[in-house]
Assembly symmetry: C2
Homo-oligomer: 282 residues x 2
């Protein structure tokens, strides 16, 4: 690939640029940023390629265009970008919810060249300052090709994420959203609810907490605006996950009520068995 365009210089966009610089020396990376000042911030953070707040020069000769803006900003940006993007370019995004994004962008890029992506990478930190060239190493990345996507384009997109160090798997947009409701969106909501609960009941107890509480609630430090958008965009799948979680808690509460040590031990042992085999991520 000769040129990749990254639209949006946040944690993911910045990390993609750094990773391409490091791992794909044959490829130029160009970044579009809405704010002119962001172009200088890129330089300060080690991102050396072309950068501009003008879309046309960034996207017009790119072979891969990656939307790295918040979900709510994608449609407007795509409506402008569509007129400059080459008809041979593959287009993707990194949004945390896929069905609505794939539908919206699929309608704008009628060529069938849009294929959704979601690299499960990042942290509670955000912005270009948190960007890292190794952010994608060992990360799981889901791509969500739909009917119109050509096998060649799906392969090119997979290859790109593989070069960045990801494990790639292909799922439908709806499957993606159900999976994320379980392993990302529900855990995020639980972490925030847990912090709010502790503060409401006894804020001082935060000062008595240990590493268990810190780790369990780390994701609650993520950016509220971005996460609110993600949770609401995936609200139907998330709502089902919350209901299922309530059932689990109800089950555990019953064991406590009835002082069922054996059942509780089995409940915890089942969780431990599954958790212990989770593959470490760098």
């Amino acid at each position: 690939m000769r040129k990749i365009a990254v639209l949006g210089p946040g944690l993911l966009g910045g990390s993609i640029a750094l990773a391409v610089q490091q791992k794909m020396p044959e490829t130029r990376v160009a970044i579009w940023a809405r704010r002119k000042e962001a172009v200088d911030e890129l330089r300060r953070n080690g991102i050396l390629g072309e950068a501009s707040s003008d879309l046309e020069p960034i996207v017009s000769d790119a072979e891969l265009v990656i939307f790295c803006v918040p979900i709510g900003a994608m449609q407007d940006l795509a409506n402008v970008a569509v007129q400059f993007i080459s008809e041979n370019a593959v287009i993707t995004d990194v949004g945390s919810v896929k069905a609505p994004v794939v539908e919206t962008l699929g309608e704008i890029f009628r060529s069938g060249k849009f294929i959704g992506s979601h690299p499960i990478a990042g942290s509670e930190r955000s912005g270009i300052e948190a960007a890292r060239a190794d952010l994608f190493e060992n990360a799981n990345c889901m791509i969500t090709p739909t009917g119109p996507a050509s096998p060649a384009d799906v392969t090119a997109l997979s290859q790109f994420w593989l070069r960045l160090g990801c494990n790639v798997r292909s799922v439908t947009p709806v499957e993606h959203d159900e999976i994320m409701a379980l392993v990302s969106h529900l855990p995020h909501l639980l972490a925030a609810a847990l912090v709010n609960l502790v503060c409401a009941q006894n804020a001082d107890s935060l000062n008595c907490s240990g590493n268990g509480f810190r780790d369990a609630t780390r994701v609650a430090s993520g950016p509220p605006e971005m996460w609110s958008e993600i949770l609401l965009t995936n609200r139907h799948a998330l709502k089902k996950s919350i209901d299922a979680m309530s059932d689990q808690l109800h089950r555990a509460a019953k064991m406590l009520d009835q002082n069922q040590g054996h059942e509780m031990q089995e409940f915890l042992a089942a969780a431990k068995n599954h958790r212990d085999v989770l593959r470490p991520i760098s």
Copy 2:
């Protein structure tokens, strides 16, 4: 202090022994282990002092005796140890639930020399192999003196935990148990319930999870037998915390149902504000 006796060579007992060796060179540490083989394991893990499966020589001349066995094993061990422990010795434990332990051991050690402790340290790992001399550095430690405790003994116990690197605070046993229900026992149950929920709904989605899920569920890898005992021993306070958590989830579910972006953003921002100021722990 000339001699400290540690009863039980697990993660906490082993780490206390290592920490005393390193930070209190004037003090001998002696360890009692139920199993004879455990004595050899201590040597292999760098714990050099006296060790035996015979209680009397370990405790008889100790100035501080620390029960580091599981909660359910404390009463029987205390009933044997009481005949060998010097009447001048301060006695404590490291159990994760305090009210029932303080009541039981307070009745056995009628001298009023028993004062409960709970260093909030440890990890999902257990056993002597996971012991570390720096486990207590920067950790919060609660002590729970009750009526009969003398100020001199309370000070001596505080000083001990301070020497090991802890931040020490004094609370009542009931306050301790309510705090722990919020910041440790509920998070543990949530982590286990989350893993079990994901496996029940779509076990394959574990393979699509990222660091957020790993951190949120880390504590679920803790030893099931020990945690089942902790959760059931503190079941009344924990039950209240589960009910409060259900209320929080209900509140969040309503925001999703009604697509309330502003409210969700405030919910997440409140959690972020509180989580961001949590002091780092080594």
